[in-house]
Protein backbone atom coordinates (compact mmCIF):
# COMPACT_ATOMS: atom_id res chain seq x y z
CA UNK A 1 0.00 0.00 0.00
CA UNK A 2 2.72 2.38 1.07
CA UNK A 3 4.74 1.65 -2.02
CA UNK A 4 1.78 2.28 -4.24
CA UNK A 5 1.28 5.64 -2.59
CA UNK A 6 4.88 6.53 -3.26
CA UNK A 7 4.55 5.56 -6.90
CA UNK A 8 1.46 7.66 -7.11
CA UNK A 9 3.27 10.61 -5.58
CA UNK A 10 6.10 10.33 -8.03
CA UNK A 11 3.68 10.13 -10.92
CA UNK A 12 1.81 13.24 -9.79
CA UNK A 13 5.12 15.02 -9.36
CA UNK A 14 6.31 14.10 -12.85
CA UNK A 15 2.96 15.01 -14.41
CA UNK A 16 2.97 18.29 -12.61
CA UNK A 17 6.59 19.11 -13.38
CA UNK A 18 6.91 17.50 -16.81
CA UNK A 19 8.60 20.60 -18.14
CA UNK A 20 11.56 19.98 -15.86
CA UNK A 21 12.09 16.61 -17.50
CA UNK A 22 11.39 17.58 -21.10
CA UNK A 23 12.78 21.08 -21.53
CA UNK A 24 15.38 21.28 -18.81
CA UNK A 25 16.86 17.82 -18.41
CA UNK A 26 15.90 16.48 -21.85
CA UNK A 27 18.56 17.99 -24.11
CA UNK A 28 21.42 17.16 -21.74
CA UNK A 29 20.18 13.63 -21.18
CA UNK A 30 19.76 13.05 -24.89
CA UNK A 31 23.29 14.23 -25.68
CA UNK A 32 24.69 12.16 -22.85
CA UNK A 33 22.97 8.99 -24.02
CA UNK A 34 23.88 9.46 -27.67
CA UNK A 35 27.43 10.73 -27.42
CA UNK A 36 28.57 9.20 -24.14
CA UNK A 37 26.65 5.97 -23.61
CA UNK A 38 26.29 4.68 -27.17
CA UNK A 39 30.09 4.72 -27.67
CA UNK A 40 30.42 2.66 -24.49
CA UNK A 41 28.51 -0.07 -26.31
CA UNK A 42 30.98 0.34 -29.15
CA UNK A 43 33.74 -0.84 -26.82
CA UNK A 44 32.67 -4.37 -27.75
CA UNK A 45 34.69 -4.05 -30.95
CA UNK A 46 37.80 -4.31 -28.79
CA UNK A 47 36.85 -7.97 -28.34
CA UNK A 48 36.10 -8.75 -31.97
CA UNK A 49 37.92 -8.56 -35.25
CA UNK A 50 35.89 -5.59 -36.37
CA UNK A 51 35.43 -5.00 -40.04
CA UNK A 52 33.35 -2.05 -41.22
CA UNK A 53 31.89 -4.25 -43.97
CA UNK A 54 30.72 -7.03 -41.68
CA UNK A 55 29.52 -4.50 -39.16
CA UNK A 56 29.20 -4.46 -35.43
CA UNK A 57 27.23 -7.71 -35.14
CA UNK A 58 28.73 -9.64 -38.01
CA UNK A 59 32.41 -9.35 -37.08
CA UNK A 60 34.30 -12.32 -35.69
CA UNK A 61 34.61 -12.57 -31.89
CA UNK A 62 38.23 -12.82 -30.72
CA UNK A 63 38.00 -12.21 -26.97
CA UNK A 64 41.12 -10.82 -25.39
CA UNK A 65 43.41 -11.33 -28.37
CA UNK A 66 44.10 -7.64 -28.93
CA UNK A 67 44.80 -7.06 -25.26
CA UNK A 68 47.32 -9.89 -25.28
CA UNK A 69 48.80 -8.50 -28.45
CA UNK A 70 49.57 -5.01 -27.15
CA UNK A 71 50.42 -6.03 -23.61
CA UNK A 72 53.15 -8.29 -24.96
CA UNK A 73 54.49 -5.72 -27.40
CA UNK A 74 57.62 -3.89 -26.23
CA UNK A 75 56.52 -0.79 -28.17
CA UNK A 76 53.35 -0.55 -26.18
CA UNK A 77 55.24 -0.80 -22.89
CA UNK A 78 57.44 2.10 -23.92
CA UNK A 79 54.40 4.22 -24.84
CA UNK A 80 52.88 3.41 -21.49
CA UNK A 81 56.09 4.47 -19.76
CA UNK A 82 56.19 7.67 -21.85
CA UNK A 83 52.64 8.49 -20.86
CA UNK A 84 53.30 7.88 -17.19
CA UNK A 85 56.58 9.79 -17.13
CA UNK A 86 55.10 12.75 -18.95
CA UNK A 87 52.16 13.12 -16.62
CA UNK A 88 53.81 12.13 -13.35
CA UNK A 89 56.72 14.52 -13.87
CA UNK A 90 54.31 17.10 -15.19
CA UNK A 91 52.28 16.80 -12.02
CA UNK A 92 55.28 16.85 -9.68
CA UNK A 93 56.82 19.92 -11.30
CA UNK A 94 53.66 21.67 -12.23
CA UNK A 95 51.44 21.14 -9.21
CA UNK A 96 53.21 23.39 -6.67
CA UNK A 97 53.73 26.33 -9.06
CA UNK A 98 50.18 27.77 -8.99
CA UNK A 99 50.08 27.42 -5.21
CA UNK A 100 53.33 29.35 -4.87
CA UNK A 101 52.10 31.99 -7.32
CA UNK A 102 48.88 32.44 -5.37
CA UNK A 103 50.69 32.73 -2.03
CA UNK A 104 53.00 35.35 -3.50
CA UNK A 105 50.13 37.27 -5.09
CA UNK A 106 48.39 37.22 -1.75
CA UNK A 107 51.32 39.09 -0.23
CA UNK A 108 51.05 41.99 -2.63
CA UNK A 109 49.31 44.80 -0.83
CA UNK A 110 48.40 47.01 -3.78
CA UNK A 111 45.35 45.55 -5.47
CA UNK A 112 46.12 47.51 -8.65
CA UNK A 113 49.53 45.94 -9.08
CA UNK A 114 48.10 42.58 -8.15
CA UNK A 115 45.44 42.84 -10.83
CA UNK A 116 47.98 43.79 -13.49
CA UNK A 117 50.17 40.85 -12.60
CA UNK A 118 47.15 38.55 -12.74
CA UNK A 119 46.25 39.87 -16.16
CA UNK A 120 49.68 38.80 -17.42
CA UNK A 121 49.63 35.49 -15.56
CA UNK A 122 46.29 34.49 -17.10
CA UNK A 123 47.21 35.54 -20.63
CA UNK A 124 48.94 32.34 -21.84
CA UNK A 125 45.84 30.33 -20.97
CA UNK A 126 44.08 31.99 -23.87
CA UNK A 127 46.68 30.98 -26.40
CA UNK A 128 45.84 27.83 -28.34
CA UNK A 129 47.80 24.61 -28.15
CA UNK A 130 48.76 25.03 -31.78
CA UNK A 131 50.05 28.55 -31.26
CA UNK A 132 51.88 27.52 -28.10
CA UNK A 133 53.59 24.67 -29.90
CA UNK A 134 54.25 26.95 -32.85
CA UNK A 135 55.96 29.39 -30.51
CA UNK A 136 57.98 26.61 -28.92
CA UNK A 137 59.09 25.43 -32.34
CA UNK A 138 60.08 28.97 -33.37
CA UNK A 139 61.92 29.82 -30.16
CA UNK A 140 63.79 26.51 -30.09
CA UNK A 141 64.46 26.14 -33.81
CA UNK A 142 68.03 25.76 -35.04
CA UNK A 143 68.12 29.39 -36.15
CA UNK A 144 65.83 30.56 -33.37
CA UNK A 145 66.57 33.02 -30.55
CA UNK A 146 67.52 30.42 -27.94
CA UNK A 147 70.20 28.94 -30.16
CA UNK A 148 71.30 32.41 -31.23
CA UNK A 149 71.64 33.48 -27.61
CA UNK A 150 73.93 30.61 -26.72
CA UNK A 151 75.60 30.50 -30.11
CA UNK A 152 74.62 26.87 -30.58
CA UNK A 153 72.77 24.93 -33.25
CA UNK A 154 70.84 22.39 -31.24
CA UNK A 155 67.64 21.12 -32.81
CA UNK A 156 65.73 20.63 -29.58
CA UNK A 157 62.60 19.21 -31.16
CA UNK A 158 64.48 16.27 -32.63
CA UNK A 159 65.92 15.24 -29.27
CA UNK A 160 63.84 12.69 -27.36
CA UNK A 161 65.45 13.75 -24.08
CA UNK A 162 64.37 17.36 -24.63
CA UNK A 163 60.73 16.49 -25.25
CA UNK A 164 59.61 16.10 -21.66
CA UNK A 165 61.25 19.29 -20.35
CA UNK A 166 59.80 21.21 -23.30
CA UNK A 167 56.36 19.77 -22.70
CA UNK A 168 56.38 20.35 -18.96
CA UNK A 169 57.95 23.82 -18.95
CA UNK A 170 55.65 25.08 -21.68
CA UNK A 171 52.75 23.58 -19.74
CA UNK A 172 53.72 25.50 -16.61
CA UNK A 173 54.24 28.63 -18.71
CA UNK A 174 50.76 28.31 -20.12
CA UNK A 175 48.73 26.92 -17.25
CA UNK A 176 50.24 27.83 -13.88
CA UNK A 177 48.93 31.39 -13.80
CA UNK A 178 45.43 30.33 -14.69
CA UNK A 179 45.47 27.48 -12.21
CA UNK A 180 46.47 29.93 -9.47
CA UNK A 181 43.02 31.60 -9.71
CA UNK A 182 41.45 28.85 -7.65
CA UNK A 183 43.95 29.26 -4.86
CA UNK A 184 43.75 33.04 -5.04
CA UNK A 185 39.99 32.84 -4.66
CA UNK A 186 40.29 30.50 -1.68
CA UNK A 187 42.85 32.83 -0.12
CA UNK A 188 40.44 35.73 -0.48
CA UNK A 189 38.23 33.85 1.96
CA UNK A 190 41.02 33.57 4.51
CA UNK A 191 40.19 35.56 7.58
CA UNK A 192 41.89 38.93 7.47
CA UNK A 193 41.53 39.25 11.24
CA UNK A 194 43.32 36.00 11.78
CA UNK A 195 46.15 37.23 9.61
CA UNK A 196 46.46 40.49 11.50
CA UNK A 197 46.28 38.73 14.84
CA UNK A 198 49.06 36.42 13.75
CA UNK A 199 51.14 39.40 12.64
CA UNK A 200 50.61 41.20 15.95
CA UNK A 201 51.56 38.04 17.81
CA UNK A 202 54.89 38.31 16.04
CA UNK A 203 54.45 35.21 13.94
CA UNK A 204 56.96 35.07 11.12
CA UNK A 205 55.90 34.56 7.57
CA UNK A 206 56.11 30.76 7.69
CA UNK A 207 54.04 30.61 10.83
CA UNK A 208 51.50 32.94 9.26
CA UNK A 209 51.25 30.79 6.16
CA UNK A 210 50.81 27.72 8.28
CA UNK A 211 48.18 29.28 10.52
CA UNK A 212 46.22 31.44 8.09
CA UNK A 213 46.83 30.74 4.44
CA UNK A 214 47.31 27.00 4.40
CA UNK A 215 44.00 26.22 6.14
CA UNK A 216 42.27 28.44 3.60
CA UNK A 217 43.60 26.61 0.55
CA UNK A 218 44.03 23.11 1.93
CA UNK A 219 40.72 21.74 0.64
CA UNK A 220 41.35 23.17 -2.79
CA UNK A 221 44.84 21.68 -2.87
CA UNK A 222 43.44 18.26 -1.98
CA UNK A 223 40.69 18.41 -4.62
CA UNK A 224 43.07 19.58 -7.29
CA UNK A 225 45.57 16.90 -6.42
CA UNK A 226 43.01 14.12 -6.56
CA UNK A 227 41.65 15.35 -9.88
CA UNK A 228 45.05 15.72 -11.47
CA UNK A 229 46.58 12.57 -10.08
CA UNK A 230 43.47 10.69 -11.07
CA UNK A 231 43.83 11.93 -14.61
CA UNK A 232 47.39 10.82 -15.07
CA UNK A 233 46.53 8.44 -17.90
CA UNK A 234 44.25 10.81 -19.74
CA UNK A 235 47.01 13.22 -20.64
CA UNK A 236 45.91 15.18 -23.67
CA UNK A 237 46.48 14.27 -27.24
CA UNK A 238 46.64 17.74 -28.72
CA UNK A 239 49.86 19.09 -27.28
CA UNK A 240 51.89 15.90 -27.45
CA UNK A 241 50.89 15.47 -31.09
CA UNK A 242 51.75 19.07 -31.97
CA UNK A 243 55.20 18.76 -30.39
CA UNK A 244 55.96 15.42 -32.02
CA UNK A 245 58.59 15.06 -34.68
CA UNK A 246 59.70 11.82 -36.32
CA UNK A 247 62.90 11.98 -34.33
CA UNK A 248 61.56 12.58 -30.82
CA UNK A 249 58.95 9.79 -30.96
CA UNK A 250 61.06 7.80 -28.49
CA UNK A 251 59.76 10.09 -25.76
CA UNK A 252 56.77 11.76 -27.35
CA UNK A 253 54.69 8.79 -28.46
CA UNK A 254 52.10 8.43 -25.72
CA UNK A 255 49.05 6.21 -25.54
CA UNK A 256 46.69 8.92 -26.80
CA UNK A 257 48.73 9.57 -29.95
CA UNK A 258 49.27 5.85 -30.45
CA UNK A 259 45.54 5.15 -30.25
CA UNK A 260 44.92 7.84 -32.85
CA UNK A 261 47.57 6.58 -35.24
CA UNK A 262 46.70 2.91 -34.89
CA UNK A 263 42.99 3.51 -35.12
CA UNK A 264 42.32 6.36 -37.48
CA UNK A 265 45.47 6.45 -39.58
CA UNK A 266 46.06 2.68 -39.87
CA UNK A 267 42.37 1.75 -39.63
CA UNK A 268 43.06 -0.84 -36.96
CA UNK A 269 39.81 -0.13 -35.11
CA UNK A 270 39.66 -3.09 -32.75
CA UNK A 271 43.27 -2.91 -31.63
CA UNK A 272 43.02 0.82 -31.04
CA UNK A 273 39.80 0.47 -29.07
CA UNK A 274 41.40 -2.20 -26.90
CA UNK A 275 44.33 0.09 -26.10
CA UNK A 276 41.95 2.95 -25.37
CA UNK A 277 39.84 0.80 -23.07
CA UNK A 278 42.91 -0.38 -21.20
CA UNK A 279 43.90 3.25 -20.72
CA UNK A 280 40.48 4.27 -19.43
CA UNK A 281 40.33 1.40 -16.97
CA UNK A 282 43.80 2.12 -15.59
CA UNK A 283 42.79 5.75 -15.22
CA UNK A 284 39.66 4.80 -13.34
CA UNK A 285 41.59 2.55 -10.98
CA UNK A 286 44.13 5.34 -10.40
CA UNK A 287 41.43 7.87 -9.59
CA UNK A 288 39.79 5.57 -7.07
CA UNK A 289 43.14 4.68 -5.50
CA UNK A 290 44.30 8.27 -5.21
CA UNK A 291 40.99 9.25 -3.70
CA UNK A 292 41.27 6.43 -1.13
CA UNK A 293 44.84 7.34 -0.23
CA UNK A 294 44.03 11.02 0.18
CA UNK A 295 40.98 10.13 2.26
CA UNK A 296 43.22 8.20 4.64
CA UNK A 297 45.76 11.00 4.88
CA UNK A 298 43.17 13.74 5.13
CA UNK A 299 41.07 12.49 8.07
CA UNK A 300 38.52 10.70 5.93
CA UNK A 301 37.99 13.62 3.58
CA UNK A 302 38.30 12.77 -0.09
CA UNK A 303 36.47 13.91 -3.15
Amino acid sequence: MKKEGKMHNTLTYVMHHWRLYVFFLGPALLLTIIFRYLPMGGILIAFEKYSPFKGFFGSEWVGLEYFKQFLSSPDFISYLVNTLKLSVFGLLWGFPVPIILALLLNRIESSKIKQKIQLVLYMPNFISVIVLCGMVRILLSVTGPVNMMFNTTINFLTLPEAFRPIYIISGIWQGAGWASIMYTASLANASQELKEAAQIDGANIFQQIKAVEWPAIKDMVVIQFILQAGNIMSIGFEKAYALQTDLNLGASEIIATYVYKKGLLDGNYSYSTAVGLFNTVINLILLITVNKVVEKMNDGQGL
Binding site: T32, F35, V120, M123, V131, G134, G177, I181
Partner: protein, 303 residues
Protein backbone atom coordinates in the same frame (compact mmCIF):
# COMPACT_ATOMS: atom_id res chain seq x y z
CA UNK B 1 50.11 59.29 -1.95
CA UNK B 2 47.78 57.85 0.62
CA UNK B 3 47.89 54.42 -0.97
CA UNK B 4 51.65 54.50 -1.18
CA UNK B 5 51.97 55.29 2.49
CA UNK B 6 49.64 52.47 3.43
CA UNK B 7 51.51 49.99 1.30
CA UNK B 8 54.77 50.99 2.90
CA UNK B 9 53.38 50.54 6.36
CA UNK B 10 52.01 47.12 5.47
CA UNK B 11 55.41 46.03 4.27
CA UNK B 12 57.20 47.56 7.25
CA UNK B 13 55.15 45.43 9.62
CA UNK B 14 57.28 42.48 8.59
CA UNK B 15 60.47 41.59 10.43
CA UNK B 16 63.83 41.83 8.69
CA UNK B 17 63.97 38.12 7.98
CA UNK B 18 60.46 38.12 6.56
CA UNK B 19 61.27 41.13 4.42
CA UNK B 20 64.21 39.36 2.87
CA UNK B 21 62.04 36.32 2.27
CA UNK B 22 59.28 38.39 0.73
CA UNK B 23 61.73 40.16 -1.55
CA UNK B 24 62.95 36.83 -2.84
CA UNK B 25 59.33 35.91 -3.41
CA UNK B 26 58.62 39.09 -5.33
CA UNK B 27 61.69 38.51 -7.47
CA UNK B 28 60.46 35.01 -8.31
CA UNK B 29 57.06 36.39 -9.22
CA UNK B 30 58.65 39.10 -11.35
CA UNK B 31 60.78 36.51 -13.13
CA UNK B 32 57.72 34.43 -13.86
CA UNK B 33 55.91 37.44 -15.26
CA UNK B 34 58.94 38.29 -17.41
CA UNK B 35 59.15 34.69 -18.61
CA UNK B 36 55.59 35.05 -19.86
CA UNK B 37 56.06 38.44 -21.46
CA UNK B 38 59.44 38.05 -23.17
CA UNK B 39 58.54 35.24 -25.61
CA UNK B 40 55.39 37.11 -26.55
CA UNK B 41 57.20 40.38 -27.14
CA UNK B 42 59.79 38.50 -29.15
CA UNK B 43 57.14 37.04 -31.43
CA UNK B 44 55.49 40.44 -31.85
CA UNK B 45 58.74 42.18 -32.73
CA UNK B 46 59.92 39.36 -34.97
CA UNK B 47 56.69 39.46 -36.91
CA UNK B 48 57.68 42.88 -38.24
CA UNK B 49 61.20 41.84 -39.29
CA UNK B 50 62.39 41.58 -42.78
CA UNK B 51 62.93 37.83 -43.37
CA UNK B 52 66.63 38.00 -44.24
CA UNK B 53 67.52 40.08 -41.19
CA UNK B 54 65.55 37.76 -38.98
CA UNK B 55 67.35 34.71 -40.24
CA UNK B 56 70.84 36.17 -40.12
CA UNK B 57 70.97 38.44 -37.10
CA UNK B 58 67.70 37.98 -35.29
CA UNK B 59 65.42 40.77 -34.19
CA UNK B 60 66.56 44.37 -34.22
CA UNK B 61 64.97 47.61 -33.10
CA UNK B 62 66.37 49.40 -36.14
CA UNK B 63 63.05 50.43 -37.66
CA UNK B 64 64.48 50.52 -41.20
CA UNK B 65 64.55 46.75 -41.11
CA UNK B 66 60.89 46.50 -40.15
CA UNK B 67 58.27 45.56 -42.67
CA UNK B 68 54.61 44.67 -42.87
CA UNK B 69 55.11 42.12 -45.65
CA UNK B 70 54.16 39.18 -43.49
CA UNK B 71 50.94 40.78 -42.31
CA UNK B 72 49.97 41.77 -45.84
CA UNK B 73 50.45 38.22 -47.00
CA UNK B 74 48.56 36.64 -44.15
CA UNK B 75 45.69 39.10 -44.33
CA UNK B 76 45.34 38.70 -48.08
CA UNK B 77 45.28 34.91 -47.77
CA UNK B 78 41.84 33.42 -48.27
CA UNK B 79 42.44 30.22 -46.28
CA UNK B 80 43.13 32.16 -43.08
CA UNK B 81 39.85 34.01 -43.41
CA UNK B 82 37.93 30.83 -44.14
CA UNK B 83 39.47 29.42 -40.98
CA UNK B 84 38.53 32.51 -39.03
CA UNK B 85 34.97 32.45 -40.28
CA UNK B 86 34.57 28.75 -39.44
CA UNK B 87 36.12 29.18 -36.02
CA UNK B 88 33.74 32.03 -35.24
CA UNK B 89 30.70 30.04 -36.38
CA UNK B 90 31.68 26.82 -34.60
CA UNK B 91 32.64 28.64 -31.41
CA UNK B 92 29.48 30.73 -31.29
CA UNK B 93 27.15 27.81 -32.03
CA UNK B 94 28.99 25.59 -29.58
CA UNK B 95 28.99 28.24 -26.85
CA UNK B 96 25.30 28.98 -27.26
CA UNK B 97 24.22 25.33 -27.31
CA UNK B 98 26.52 24.29 -24.57
CA UNK B 99 25.72 27.06 -22.12
CA UNK B 100 21.99 26.80 -22.81
CA UNK B 101 21.90 23.02 -22.33
CA UNK B 102 24.09 23.22 -19.25
CA UNK B 103 22.13 26.00 -17.55
CA UNK B 104 18.84 24.26 -18.31
CA UNK B 105 19.98 20.90 -17.03
CA UNK B 106 21.54 22.35 -13.90
CA UNK B 107 18.24 23.83 -12.79
CA UNK B 108 16.26 20.66 -11.96
CA UNK B 109 19.51 19.09 -10.73
CA UNK B 110 19.75 21.89 -8.18
CA UNK B 111 16.30 21.23 -6.70
CA UNK B 112 16.30 19.15 -3.54
CA UNK B 113 12.88 17.66 -4.25
CA UNK B 114 13.41 16.90 -7.94
CA UNK B 115 12.32 13.29 -8.40
CA UNK B 116 14.99 11.15 -10.05
CA UNK B 117 17.78 13.60 -9.27
CA UNK B 118 20.02 10.90 -7.78
CA UNK B 119 19.64 8.57 -10.75
CA UNK B 120 20.32 11.33 -13.26
CA UNK B 121 23.28 12.43 -11.21
CA UNK B 122 24.78 8.95 -11.40
CA UNK B 123 24.11 8.79 -15.15
CA UNK B 124 25.97 12.08 -15.64
CA UNK B 125 28.81 11.41 -13.20
CA UNK B 126 29.73 8.08 -14.80
CA UNK B 127 30.57 9.88 -18.04
CA UNK B 128 33.16 11.95 -16.21
CA UNK B 129 35.21 8.88 -15.45
CA UNK B 130 34.40 6.40 -18.14
CA UNK B 131 33.83 6.67 -21.86
CA UNK B 132 33.86 4.72 -25.09
CA UNK B 133 37.08 6.24 -26.31
CA UNK B 134 38.23 7.51 -29.66
CA UNK B 135 37.25 4.79 -32.12
CA UNK B 136 33.76 3.93 -30.85
CA UNK B 137 32.95 7.65 -30.80
CA UNK B 138 34.34 8.08 -34.29
CA UNK B 139 32.30 5.14 -35.58
CA UNK B 140 29.19 6.56 -33.97
CA UNK B 141 29.70 9.97 -35.59
CA UNK B 142 30.31 8.21 -38.87
CA UNK B 143 27.15 6.07 -38.51
CA UNK B 144 25.11 9.12 -37.65
CA UNK B 145 26.23 10.61 -40.97
CA UNK B 146 27.92 13.53 -39.23
CA UNK B 147 31.37 13.11 -40.76
CA UNK B 148 32.61 16.28 -42.41
CA UNK B 149 29.82 18.26 -40.76
CA UNK B 150 29.99 21.07 -38.24
CA UNK B 151 27.74 19.10 -35.89
CA UNK B 152 30.42 16.45 -35.38
CA UNK B 153 32.59 19.13 -33.83
CA UNK B 154 29.86 21.00 -32.00
CA UNK B 155 27.44 18.42 -30.59
CA UNK B 156 29.38 15.66 -28.79
CA UNK B 157 30.94 18.00 -26.23
CA UNK B 158 28.02 20.39 -25.94
CA UNK B 159 26.95 19.10 -22.56
CA UNK B 160 29.63 19.28 -19.92
CA UNK B 161 28.91 17.63 -16.58
CA UNK B 162 31.61 19.68 -14.96
CA UNK B 163 30.01 22.95 -16.02
CA UNK B 164 26.60 21.66 -14.98
CA UNK B 165 27.97 21.12 -11.47
CA UNK B 166 29.29 24.67 -11.41
CA UNK B 167 25.95 26.09 -12.55
CA UNK B 168 24.09 23.89 -10.07
CA UNK B 169 26.24 25.17 -7.22
CA UNK B 170 25.50 28.69 -8.35
CA UNK B 171 21.72 28.12 -8.41
CA UNK B 172 21.85 26.74 -4.90
CA UNK B 173 23.42 29.98 -3.74
CA UNK B 174 20.41 31.95 -4.95
CA UNK B 175 18.01 32.81 -2.11
CA UNK B 176 14.96 30.52 -2.08
CA UNK B 177 12.54 33.42 -1.55
CA UNK B 178 13.13 34.55 -5.11
CA UNK B 179 11.81 31.26 -6.39
CA UNK B 180 8.98 30.89 -3.92
CA UNK B 181 7.61 34.33 -4.73
CA UNK B 182 7.30 33.35 -8.37
CA UNK B 183 5.76 29.98 -7.55
CA UNK B 184 3.01 31.66 -5.60
CA UNK B 185 2.21 33.66 -8.71
CA UNK B 186 1.55 30.35 -10.42
CA UNK B 187 4.31 30.79 -12.99
CA UNK B 188 5.47 27.56 -14.62
CA UNK B 189 9.11 26.45 -14.52
CA UNK B 190 9.99 27.99 -17.86
CA UNK B 191 8.76 31.45 -16.94
CA UNK B 192 10.40 31.18 -13.56
CA UNK B 193 13.68 30.15 -15.13
CA UNK B 194 13.86 32.83 -17.80
CA UNK B 195 12.34 35.70 -15.81
CA UNK B 196 13.72 35.13 -12.34
CA UNK B 197 16.72 32.81 -12.38
CA UNK B 198 18.65 33.64 -15.53
CA UNK B 199 18.90 37.38 -14.84
CA UNK B 200 20.71 36.77 -11.55
CA UNK B 201 23.06 34.23 -13.13
CA UNK B 202 25.07 36.63 -15.30
CA UNK B 203 28.44 35.91 -13.64
CA UNK B 204 28.27 32.16 -14.06
CA UNK B 205 26.87 32.47 -17.60
CA UNK B 206 29.68 34.86 -18.52
CA UNK B 207 32.33 32.49 -17.21
CA UNK B 208 30.84 29.44 -18.91
CA UNK B 209 30.52 31.35 -22.19
CA UNK B 210 34.15 32.40 -22.01
CA UNK B 211 35.36 28.89 -21.19
CA UNK B 212 33.34 27.22 -23.90
CA UNK B 213 34.20 29.81 -26.51
CA UNK B 214 37.92 29.67 -25.74
CA UNK B 215 37.83 25.89 -25.58
CA UNK B 216 36.25 25.52 -29.00
CA UNK B 217 38.28 28.31 -30.57
CA UNK B 218 41.56 26.76 -29.45
CA UNK B 219 40.92 23.06 -30.05
CA UNK B 220 41.85 21.19 -33.19
CA UNK B 221 41.55 17.47 -32.55
CA UNK B 222 37.86 16.96 -33.33
CA UNK B 223 38.08 19.16 -36.40
CA UNK B 224 41.15 17.24 -37.54
CA UNK B 225 39.47 13.84 -37.35
CA UNK B 226 35.95 14.76 -38.46
CA UNK B 227 36.35 17.52 -41.05
CA UNK B 228 38.07 16.76 -44.33
CA UNK B 229 36.94 19.53 -46.64
CA UNK B 230 39.34 22.48 -46.60
CA UNK B 231 36.49 24.99 -46.68
CA UNK B 232 35.12 23.62 -43.40
CA UNK B 233 38.33 23.73 -41.41
CA UNK B 234 38.54 26.04 -38.43
CA UNK B 235 41.41 28.41 -37.83
CA UNK B 236 43.44 26.06 -35.66
CA UNK B 237 43.79 23.54 -38.48
CA UNK B 238 44.94 26.25 -40.87
CA UNK B 239 47.41 27.35 -38.22
CA UNK B 240 48.56 23.79 -37.77
CA UNK B 241 49.51 23.58 -41.43
CA UNK B 242 51.52 26.79 -41.15
CA UNK B 243 53.06 26.44 -37.69
CA UNK B 244 53.50 22.73 -37.12
CA UNK B 245 53.60 21.11 -40.53
CA UNK B 246 55.49 23.93 -42.26
CA UNK B 247 53.03 23.79 -45.13
CA UNK B 248 51.50 27.21 -45.57
CA UNK B 249 48.84 27.61 -48.21
CA UNK B 250 50.74 27.65 -51.52
CA UNK B 251 49.28 31.03 -52.48
CA UNK B 252 51.06 32.68 -49.59
CA UNK B 253 54.59 32.04 -50.81
CA UNK B 254 54.23 30.91 -54.42
CA UNK B 255 55.55 34.12 -55.98
CA UNK B 256 58.99 33.70 -54.42
CA UNK B 257 61.67 32.61 -56.83
CA UNK B 258 63.99 30.34 -54.88
CA UNK B 259 63.32 27.62 -52.36
CA UNK B 260 65.43 29.48 -49.83
CA UNK B 261 63.31 32.58 -50.22
CA UNK B 262 60.14 30.56 -49.87
CA UNK B 263 61.42 28.89 -46.74
CA UNK B 264 62.42 32.23 -45.21
CA UNK B 265 59.04 33.69 -45.96
CA UNK B 266 57.23 30.64 -44.65
CA UNK B 267 59.17 31.09 -41.41
CA UNK B 268 58.24 34.76 -41.18
CA UNK B 269 54.59 34.06 -41.84
CA UNK B 270 54.52 31.98 -38.66
CA UNK B 271 55.02 35.02 -36.49
CA UNK B 272 52.32 37.15 -38.03
CA UNK B 273 49.89 34.22 -38.09
CA UNK B 274 50.45 33.70 -34.38
CA UNK B 275 49.71 37.35 -33.67
CA UNK B 276 46.66 37.63 -35.90
CA UNK B 277 45.11 34.41 -34.66
CA UNK B 278 45.72 35.01 -30.94
CA UNK B 279 44.74 38.65 -30.85
CA UNK B 280 40.94 38.25 -30.64
CA UNK B 281 41.02 36.17 -27.46
CA UNK B 282 43.83 38.13 -25.84
CA UNK B 283 41.89 41.33 -26.38
CA UNK B 284 38.63 39.79 -25.23
CA UNK B 285 39.54 38.04 -21.98
CA UNK B 286 40.37 41.06 -19.77
CA UNK B 287 36.73 42.13 -20.11
CA UNK B 288 35.72 38.88 -18.48
CA UNK B 289 38.22 39.08 -15.66
CA UNK B 290 35.73 40.32 -13.11
CA UNK B 291 33.63 37.20 -13.66
CA UNK B 292 36.46 34.72 -13.20
CA UNK B 293 35.73 34.30 -9.50
CA UNK B 294 32.27 32.93 -10.26
CA UNK B 295 33.92 29.99 -11.97
CA UNK B 296 35.80 29.18 -8.84
CA UNK B 297 32.74 27.62 -7.31
CA UNK B 298 34.27 24.31 -8.37
CA UNK B 299 35.63 24.40 -4.87
CA UNK B 300 32.23 23.37 -3.64
CA UNK B 301 31.98 20.41 -6.01
CA UNK B 302 31.92 18.08 -3.04
CA UNK B 303 28.62 16.51 -2.11
Amino acid sequence: MEAKKKKKSAFSRYSAGDKAFLLVGYVILALFVLAIIIPMVYIVVASFMDPITLQNTGITFDLDKWTLTAYERVISNAQIWVGFKNAVIYSLVFTFLSVAITMLCAYPMSLEDFKGRKIFNVIFMITMFFGGGLIPTYLLISNLGLLDSMWAVVLPGAFSVWNMIIARTYYRGIPGELREAAEVDGANELTLFFRILLPVCTPVIAVLCLWQFVGMWNSYFDAMIYLNTASKQPLQLVLRAILIQNQPDAGMIADMQSTAERARLAELLKYSTIIISSLPLLVMYPFFQKYFDAGIMVGSVKG
